[in-house]
C-alpha cells in the first residue's frame, strides 16, 4: 500500500508519512495535532468529524487519507484569519449555539460549505443540509439561528 507523504491543510503543505488507507480524521488529529475535528461515531452518521476537501463536505472518520492527497483540506483551525473569527464562528457565539461544544467544529464546517454554495439559504435548505450533523445537547434551533445570522438573513437573535 502506498503511503501519503504530504497534505495541504488550511493553506499549508504539511509533511506526513502514513498508509493511504488511514482515516483522514486520525491523520489530522494524531499526526498533525489538529484536534478541533472530532471523533463521534466512526460511520459518518454524526458529522463531528466534518472537514472540507476542495470545498466539499467530507466525513473524515470514513475518508481514507489517500483521497485527500493533492487536494485542499480545510478544518476548523483554518477558519480564523489573523486573529479574526469567521462570520460563522462569531454567529455561533452570538446565538449561543452550543452547550458542550463537541459537535461545534463539525457544525461550523458543514455550515460553511452550505454558505459557500448558497449565500442566503432558506430555513428548509439549512435543515436539509445540516441533517447529517448531530448535536446531542439539542441546540439545533440556535445553530439554525447562527447560520442565518452569518448569512445575514436572521430576523432576530435568540435569547
Amino acid at each position: 500500500m502506498a503511503n501519503v507523504t504530504s497534505l495541504n491543510v488550511n493553506g499549508k503543505r504539511l509533511r506526513v508519512d502514513v498508509d493511504s488507507q488511514t482515516p483522514l480524521l486520525q491523520v489530522l488529529r494524531d499526526r498533525l495535532n489538529l484536534t478541533g475535528t472530532k471523533y463521534g461515531c466512526g460511520e459518518a452518521r454524526c458529522g463531528a468529524c466534518t472537514v472540507l476537501v476542495d470545498g466539499q463536505i467530507m466525513r473524515s472518520c470514513v475518508t481514507p487519507v489517500g483521497r485527500a492527497g493533492g487536494k485542499q483540506v480545510t478544518t476548523i483551525e483554518g477558519l480564523e484569519k489573523d486573529g479574526k473569527l469567521h462570520p460563522l464562528q462569531e454567529a455561533f457565539l452570538k446565538a449561543d449555539a452550543l452547550q458542550c461544544g463537541y459537535c461545534t467544529s463539525g457544525m461550523i464546517m458543514s455550515a460553511s460549505s452550505l454558505l459557500n454554495k448558497i449565500s442566503k439559504p432558506s430555513r428548509e435548505e439549512i435543515v436539509k443540509h445540516m441533517d447529517g450533523n448531530v448535536c446531542r445537547c439539542g441546540t439545533y434551533a440556535r445553530i439554525v439561528n447562527a447560520i442565518e445570522i452569518a448569512a445575514g438573513t436572521a430576523k432576530e437573535v435568540a435569547e
Binding site: 498508509d19 488511514t22 486520525q26 488529529r29 494524531d30 495535532n33 489538529l34 484536534t35 478541533g36 475535528t37 472530532k38 471523533y39 463521534g40 461515531c41 466512526g42 460511520e43 452518521r45 454524526c46 463531528a48 478544518t75 476548523i76 483551525e77 477558519l79 480564523e80 473569527l85 464562528q89 455561533f92 457565539l93 449561543d96 452550543l98 452547550q99 458542550c100 461544544g101 463537541y102 459537535c103 461545534t104 467544529s105 461550523i108 439549512i126 435543515v127 436539509k128 445540516m130 441533517d131 450533523n133 448531530v134 448535536c135 446531542r136 445537547c137 439539542g138 441546540t139 439545533y140 434551533a141 440556535r142 445553530i143 439554525v144 435568540a158 435569547e159
Partner: protein
C-alpha cells in the same frame, strides 16, 4: 429540596459516597498568599436552613479553617480571583453561571474570575455533578464566600487609607474612597496579605432585585475556544511518548474469558499486550497499529444466557421486590377513594432502556510517574473515579489524581471510571502514558442505560373531575418524581426494585420522565373518561400555585383554548423546578410516522441566573426528549446490544425539530433551582396525549410508535 436526593438509587454510585480528603492540612499547604474564603463542606451537604443557621463563625477576623473544605475562593496577590470547586463543566454552563455569582458579589467583571474545576489535587472533594445541585447548593455558598471576601477587602482598603470602612466602596474591581479621590486595585489590597477565613454566618448577599451580573445573559466564558476548535477535551490530549489503547471486548455481557492467544499481537513492533483476569487490552504507538493488534488476538468467551427485550417487562415484574425508598407512606385509603369514585381506570405503562450517547465518548489519558497515577478523563464524578482507581490498583487515594477537562456532555451517563481504569492498566504495563477513547460501539455496549420500567396505575375519579384514589407502582425504572404535586386525597405510591438485565444508572432527570409519562398520560385518560378539558381537569386537582402557574403559562402561550386537532399537554415538578409542556403533532395515516410540529414549554426554577443559557438548556432538554419519546429504544438479546451504533440508533436531528417556544417564569422572590434535568420530563407525555388527540390511539409505551 428532596432530602433523599443523594441516596437516590438510580444515581449510579460506585465506591464510597463521602471521602472528605481535601482537608485543612492540604489547603494550608496549597495556600501561598493573598486572601482565601472557605466554604465548609458541611454547608454544601447541609439539608436545609436549620444547619445553616447553626453554622459557627462570628463575623470578622480570622477563623479556624474547617477540617473539611467544600469550595474556596482565592484572591491572589496579583488580584486574580480563582474559584476552586470540584464541579464539572459538561455543557450546562456552570463555568459561566458560577463566575457570574462570584463576580456579582465581589463587584468585579466576570472576566477576572477564573474557575478551577474538577481536579482532585487542586479542588476540594465534591460528590459529583448531578442531581441539578450546582445552582441550588454550590452557587449560594460561593456567593456568600465572595460577599465575605468583598467585605474583608473593603476592611483592608479602609485600614490602608485609615478611614472608616463605610467610606470605602468597590466598583468594577476598584476600591474607591468616599469622594473617589483615591482608588486601589484588587491586587494592591491583596498584596502582602495572608488571610484565610471561613464564611461567617452573618454574611449578607446581594438581593436578586439588585443583581447586575447574575441574572444577565453573560456569554459562555470560554466560548471562543469551542468555536475555534482549540478547547482540549480528554479525547484531544496528547502526552510525550503517549500510546493509543484498545480493549478486546467480549462478544456478550457477563462473559468470562475462556482462552486467548496474544502471540501474534505481541509480535507487532511497539505493541504492548495486557492480560489481567478477564481484561485483555493493547497499547500501540498509533491507533491503526492498536486496531491491528486488537484484531490479531484470538480469543474465546463464554456467555451466560440472558433475557432479551421481548420478555423484558414480564422479567422486570417477575423479579421485583418492594423498595422501602421512594414511595412514601400511603395517604388516606384507596378503598375509600375507589368507593367515592364515579369512574375507575387501571392501566399499565412502560419505558424502554435508552442510551445517553454523549457525543464525546468515554475517554481517558493515564500516566504513571514515580508511583503516582494521573488520569485525565471526562466524568461527572472525579472523586468517585479517583476512589475507583485507588481501589483497582490497591493504592492510597493521595497517589491518584483525576483531572476533568470540560467534557463533551454526559447527561448522567459519565458517573463511572471504567475507561480511566482501563487506560491506567495499559499505561502501567507499557510504562508510558496511554490514551483510550471508547468507540461509539463500546459506548453503547459497555456503559450503562437509563433504566427500563413498568408502571401500573389504578385510579378513581368523580364525574366533576376530582381524583379520589391514586395507586401507582413503578417497577425498576426509579423513584424520582414518583410523588406528584397533585392534590390526591387517597394515594398509595410504591417503587419496586427489580433485577435489570442490562447495566443501568443515572440519566438526565432519572426516572422523572418515566413517572411523569405514566402519570400525565393517565391524567389525560381520566380527563377523557369524565369528558373534561385536559387543562381544566388538571387544574381541578392542583392546589400548588407554582404548578398551576406553569400549566397556565404553557396553555396560554400554546393557545390551548384555540387548539386544532393533535394537541396534548402535561405538567410536573422535580428537583425544585416546575414544568408544563404542550405539543402539537401530525401523524402520517399510512406510515404512522409522528412529527412533532410544535412544542411550548413553560419552566420555572426560581430566580433566573442566566436567561440565555437557561433558554438554551430548556430547549436542549426538549430536543433530547424527542428521542426518548419517539424513537430511542435499546434492542438486546443474549447479552448483546443489537442496535448499538448511530446507524441503528436514531437520535433527534435537525429535521425532527419542532417549532419550540420556551416561556421562562422568573421568580425573583424564590431561590434558584437547578435546570439541567426537569425540562426533559414533559415532552413525552404531552406528545403521547397529542397522538391520542390526533388519532384516537392511546399509546402507553415509550417510545411512542403508533
Amino acid at each position: 429540596m428532596n432530602d433523599d436526593l443523594e441516596l437516590e438509587r438510580y444515581e449510579l454510585f460506585e465506591g464510597p459516597a463521602y471521602q472528605f480528603n481535601f482537608n485543612r492540612r492540604q489547603f494550608l499547604k496549597a495556600f501561598s498568599g493573598g486572601i482565601a474564603l472557605i466554604v465548609p463542606m458541611s454547608n454544601l451537604v447541609a439539608r436545609t436552613l436549620q444547619q445553616e443557621q447553626g453554622e459557627s463563625g462570628s463575623g470578622r477576623g480570622n477563623q479556624r479553617v474547617p477540617d473539611e473544605i467544600g469550595a474556596w475562593i482565592h484572591i491572589d496577590e496579583s488580584g486574580m480571583v480563582s474559584v476552586f470547586t470540584g464541579k464539572v463543566e459538561l455543557g450546562q454552563n456552570i463555568r459561566t453561571s458560577l463566575a457570574q455569582a462570584v463576580a456579582e458579589e465581589l463587584h468585579v467583571p466576570v472576566t477576572t474570575v477564573r474557575l478551577v474545576m474538577a481536579d482532585t489535587d487542586l479542588t476540594p472533594f465534591d460528590m459529583g455533578t448531578f442531581g441539578s445541585l450546582t445552582t441550588p447548593r454550590m452557587a449560594p455558598q460561593l456567593r456568600k464566600a465572595a460577599a465575605a471576601a468583598r467585605e474583608t477587602l473593603i476592611s483592608l482598603a479602609a485600614e490602608q487609607w485609615k478611614v472608616e470602612r463605610t467610606a470605602v466602596r468597590i466598583v468594577n474591581a476598584r476600591f474607591i474612597n468616599h469622594d473617589a479621590s483615591k482608588s486601589l486595585t484588587l491586587a494592591e489590597v491583596a498584596k502582602g496579605q495572608k488571610l484565610v477565613k471561613t464564611i461567617p454566618a452573618d454574611v449578607q448577599v446581594t438581593p436578586v432585585s439588585d443583581w447586575t451580573i447574575a441574572g444577565t445573559s453573560v456569554p459562555k466564558v470560554d466560548g471562543r475556544d469551542f468555536v475555534t476548535g482549540k478547547h482540549q477535551y480528554t479525547t484531544d490530549m496528547k502526552r510525550d511518548g503517549m500510546l493509543y489503547g484498545r480493549v478486546v471486548r467480549p462478544t456478550a455481557m457477563e462473559s468470562t474469558l475462556v482462552s486467548s492467544d496474544t502471540k501474534a499481537a505481541e509480535a507487532i513492533p511497539g505493541v504492548v499486550v495486557v492480560r489481567d483476569g478477564d481484561f485483555v487490552g493493547v497499547a500501540a504507538p498509533d491507533q491503526q497499529t492498536a486496531i491491528r493488534a486488537e484484531k490479531a488476538i484470538a480469543i474465546h468467551w463464554k456467555a451466560p444466557g440472558q433475557p432479551g427485550n421481548e420478555e423484558l417487562f414480564e422479567y422486570l415484574k417477575k423479579n421485583s421486590t418492594v423498595s422501602s425508598r421512594g414511595g412514601g407512606r400511603p395517604v388516606g385509603s384507596i378503598a375509600d377513594g375507589m368507593a367515592a369514585a364515579d369512574r375507575k381506570l387501571s392501566q399499565t405503562y412502560t419505558v424502554a432502556y435508552i442510551a445517553h450517547a454523549p457525543l464525546e465518548p468515554r475517554a481517558a489519558v493515564a500516566e504513571w510517574n514515580d508511583g503516582k497515577l494521573t488520569v485525565w478523563t471526562g466524568t461527572q464524578r472525579p472523586f468517585g473515579v479517583r476512589s475507583e482507581l485507588a481501589e483497582a490498583f490497591h493504592m492510597p487515594e493521595e497517589k491518584v489524581r483525576v483531572i476533568v477537562p470540560d467534557t463533551g456532555s454526559g447527561y448522567g451517563g459519565k458517573h463511572t471510571g471504567e475507561c480511566a481504569i482501563e487506560a491506567a492498566r495499559l499505561a502501567r504495563a507499557s510504562g508510558k502514558p496511554v490514551k483510550l477513547v471508547w468507540t461509539r460501539e463500546e459506548e453503547f455496549n459497555w456503559a450503562y442505560f437509563r433504566p427500563a420500567g413498568v408502571i401500573e396505575v389504578s385510579s378513581g375519579v368523580k364525574n366533576d373531575g376530582t381524583v379520589t384514589a391514586w395507586e401507582f407502582h413503578n417497577y425498576n425504572s426509579g423513584a424520582s418524581a414518583i410523588q406528584s404535586k397533585y392534590d390526591f386525597p387517597n394515594q398509595n405510591i410504591q417503587f419496586h426494585n427489580s433485577k435489570s438485565p442490562l447495566r443501568q444508572g443515572s440519566y438526565r432527570g432519572l426516572a422523572a420522565t418515566a413517572n411523569h409519562f405514566a402519570r400525565e398520560v393517565h391524567m389525560d385518560e381520566l380527563a377523557h373518561l369524565v369528558n373534561m378539558d385536559p387543562v381544566e381537569f388538571r387544574l381541578k386537582n392542583i392546589k400548588d400555585q407554582r404548578l398551576k402557574a406553569a400549566l397556565e403559562a404553557a396553555a396560554n402561550a400554546f393557545g390551548w383554548s384555540r387548539r386544532k386537532k393533535g394537541c396534548g399537554i402535561a405538567c410536573g415538578f422535580e428537583k425544585g423546578s416546575y414544568v408544563a409542556t404542550a405539543a402539537e403533532v401530525s401523524v402520517d395515516a399510512k406510515t404512522g410516522r409522528v412529527k412533532i410540529e410544535r412544542a411550548v414549554e413553560a419552566f420555572e426554577c426560581g430566580a433566573i441566573v442566566n436567561r440565555m443559557h437557561l433558554n438554551n438548556q430548556v430547549e436542549g432538554a426538549v430536543v433530547q426528549a424527542i428521542g426518548g419519546a419517539l424513537f430511542e429504544n435499546i434492542q438486546f438479546k443474549d447479552g448483546q446490544i443489537l442496535n448499538g451504533k448511530f446507524s441503528r440508533y436514531r437520535l433527534p436531528r435537525f429535521s425532527d425539530m419542532p417549532k419550540i417556544e420556551i416561556v421562562l417564569l422568573d421568580r425573583k422572590d424564590l431561590p434558584s433551582a437547578g435546570a439541567g434535568e426537569t425540562p426533559i420530563v414533559g415532552l413525552a407525555p404531552a406528545v403521547g396525549n397529542a397522538i391520542f388527540d390526533a388519532t384516537g390511539n392511546r399509546l402507553r409505551s415509550l417510545p411512542l410508535t403508533p
